[in-house]
């Protein structure tokens, strides 16, 4: 039995070895990792500089807005990456005990439901973004345009929905 930790990506395989999820991500996955990594590094740098500035008396304004924007990059790309490697948390107590065919059918239904949720989130976000698009929403201090961040999230949600759909189609019943 492979044990997957729902709060980190530790895996104990059949041989009892500790390992990590395989990183076979493809081009889309690599792009997601790149964007997310950039977000992580920017967020780290912005907050660390802000802390250093505050404690040396040089106040750097706008770090919260930079981190906020970086977090959108991190979260969007992280959800894409988690979908590509199939590391979403789920309860296995029943599915592990079912015959393989039934388990595959359930996995296909789960993938379809997941695609539905992300399609709905993308639709809802697109609705909100369309209402706000002409308002040129931006952050207060640095004027970072939020509508492009909204567009990034909508694209990521649609991509995740597509990835789940593809996963559902690939699983043989």
């Amino acid at each position: 039995m492979t044990i997957h930790d729902d709060s980190s990506d530790f895996v104990i395989d059949d041989e009892g070895q500790i390992g990590r999820e395989p990183a076979t991500a493809g081009r889309v996955g690599e792009a997601a990792y790149l964007v997310g990594s950039l977000g992580l590094l920017v967020a780290t740098a912005a907050d660390a500089i802000a802390v250093a500035g505050r404690h040396t008396g040089i106040h750097l304004l706008g770090s919260i807005e930079v981190v906020q924007s970086a977090v959108v990059l991190i979260a969007s790309s992280a959800m894409v990456a988690a979908t590509i490697v199939g590391s979403h948390a789920s309860v296995h107590i029943l599915t592990e005990r079912l015959p393989a065919g039934t388990a595959r059918r359930l996995a296909r239904i789960a993938a379809l439901l997941s695609a539905l949720l992300f399609a709905l989130l993308a639709a809802g976000s697109a609705w909100v973004a369309s209402e706000l698009w002409s308002g040129f929403e931006q952050t207060e201090l640095l004027g970072i345009p939020l509508r492009w961040l909204r567009a990034l999230w909508i694209a990521a949600a649609l991509l995740i929905a597509f990835l789940f759909l593809r996963a559902a189609a690939r699983r043989s019943p």
Binding site: M1, I3, D5, D6, S7, S8, D9, F10, I12, G16, I18, R20, E21, A23, Y33, S37, L40, A43, T44, D47, A48, A50, V51, H55, I64, Q68, V71, I74, A75, S76, S77, A78, M79, A81, A82, T83, S87, H88, A89, V91, T95, L106, A107, I109, A110, L113, S114, L116, L117, L120, L121, A123, G124, S125, W127, V128, A129, R150, W153, A157
Partner: protein, 434 residues
């Protein structure tokens, strides 16, 4: 159909979806959206989905989660994972049950890096279990101590479970971290006392290992000194107000990078590996959080919590009795739901009731995580047990579960103490002003 009935039907469908293997975040989100569609309107539900998802992924406070994860992954890459047990074993290994005591210390130390119960039990077991078996420890006793010790990873700050609770319950993560310190330490002490009692009653359970001379013990401390200083700086700085939780995590990432550089092992593949691992875990947790917020919104619209609150009030039960019943329900649900699902399903329902009963939300967060931890070791789910069994296939599951029983008793006594004396949780955040 009344809103309350819609709410109950929603909870039933959620449990069904989760049992059928639908991802936790997806189940929560779909039930939340479907419920809001029925109770308000499909348009409102769709817009709510759009608003909640973007608000969640653009929340500054949520930046704390990926950054603490990155700090942990950099520490792993720097090779800090097994040192805590090695050092503790040098100091107490020569005592009866000393290696088991060291494994508890190792779990507490590693938990402060990983923030995850399964990661803690997997890592410490991989080094401690072979040592204990070599020293002639009873397999059930050794694996029981490790399974129980691993649960410390969920409570010791910076705990991933507490960060998720802080976000969905809108509570200060700094206060939650401060509140978890005394319960985490006392939990470790309870386990150590259990080991001491068991080894006094039956010395064959954990024979003494050879004594390590002091000239070897003190230099060994150097192996963990840098990590200890980093944890102390990050959590201490957060508690005394030097930085916000997100800033603390950023400073932690830089500190971990520095520590890695000083240890001399920084490589590009290592750094990329840490970034990728962080993103995979972060993505999984974000989906769960978006789903949980949608589900919580639905539950609040149904009025179920108000109904349950008034039922508890009309029953004229004492708050302690009511919270004890809540603990029982959590333990029962924890028999088939994993910790994250349990927390996300029950927080929107139980938190308002606990607050109505006069309990602080911070106390409730610690209570919930503590109860959730017990689910990691009690049958039939007991994931920590399966982790150990996967690593030592010759130890039967029944032996490990039997070995856990004394530690489960300690867990129940400790949980009872937290319920009876909430100051154990609330004293430190009050003093630190976190």
């Amino acid at each position: 159909m009344t809103p309350e009935l819609v709410g109950l039907a929603g909870i039933f469908f959620l449990l069904l979806l989760l049992t059928l293997g639908v991802p936790i975040g997806v189940g929560l989100g779909l039930v939340g959206l479907a419920g809001l569609s029925i109770l308000i309107s499909p348009e409102a539900a769709l817009i709510k989905g759009g608003v909640v998802s973007f608000e969640t992924i653009s929340k500054y406070e949520l930046g704390v989660l990926p950054l603490f994860l990155l700090m942990a992954h950099i520490c792993f890459a720097a090779g800090a994972s097994r040192d805590f047990f090695d050092v503790a074993a040098k100091f107490v290994g020569h005592r009866r049950g000393g290696l088991a005591l060291a494994s508890i210390g190792g779990c507490a130390g590693f938990g402060a890096i990983s923030g995850s119960s399964l990661a803690t039990v997997a890592t410490i077991s991989s080094v401690a279990l072979p040592e204990m078996r070599k020293a002639g420890y009873h397999p059930g006793f050794a694996s029981g101590a490790l399974a129980a010790g691993g649960t410390l990873g969920s409570l010791v700050p910076p705990s991933g479970a507490l960060i998720v609770f802080g976000i969905i319950a809108e509570q200060s993560i700094g206060k939650l971290f401060a509140a978890s310190i005394v319960p985490g330490l006392s939990q470790a002490l309870f386990y150590m006392a259990t080991i001491a009692i068991l080894c006094t009653l039956n010395p064959a359970l954990g024979p003494s290992a050879p004594r390590v001379p002091w000239r070897q013990r003190l230099p060994a401390l150097r192996k963990i000194l840098d990590i200890l200083l980093l944890i102390l700086f990050v959590i201490g700085g957060l508690m005394i107000g030097w930085f916000t939780p997100t800033e603390a995590a950023s400073v932690g990432v830089l500190g971990a990078l520095l520590l890695w550089a000083l240890r001399g092992g920084v490589t590009w593949p290592g750094l990329f590996g840490a970034l990728r691992s962080t993103l995979r875990t972060t993505g999984m947790i974000y989906v769960v959080i978006i789903g949980a917020i949608l589900f919580a919104t639905f539950i609040s619209v149904t009025g179920i919590t108000g109904l349950l609150s008034s039922a508890v009030t009309n029953f004229h039960a004492s708050p302690i009795l009511a919270i004890s019943v809540m603990a029982l329900v959590l333990l029962l649900l924890g028999s088939f739901l994993d910790g994250l699902a349990l927390m996300l399903l029950t927080t929107p329902i139980f938190l308002p009731i606990a607050v109505n009963l006069g309990f602080s939300p911070i106390w409730f967060g610690i209570f919930l995580v503590r109860t959730m931890e017990i689910g990691f070791v009690h049958p039939p789910l007991g994931l920590n047990v399966y982790v150990i069994q996967a690593m030592a296939k010759d130890i039967p599951l029944a032996t490990i579960f039997r070995g856990i029983i004394p530690f489960l008793i300690a867990d129940f006594v400790h949980l009872g103490l937290l319920i009876a004396v909430p100051a154990i949780v609330l004293w430190l955040p009050g003093v630190a002003g976190a």
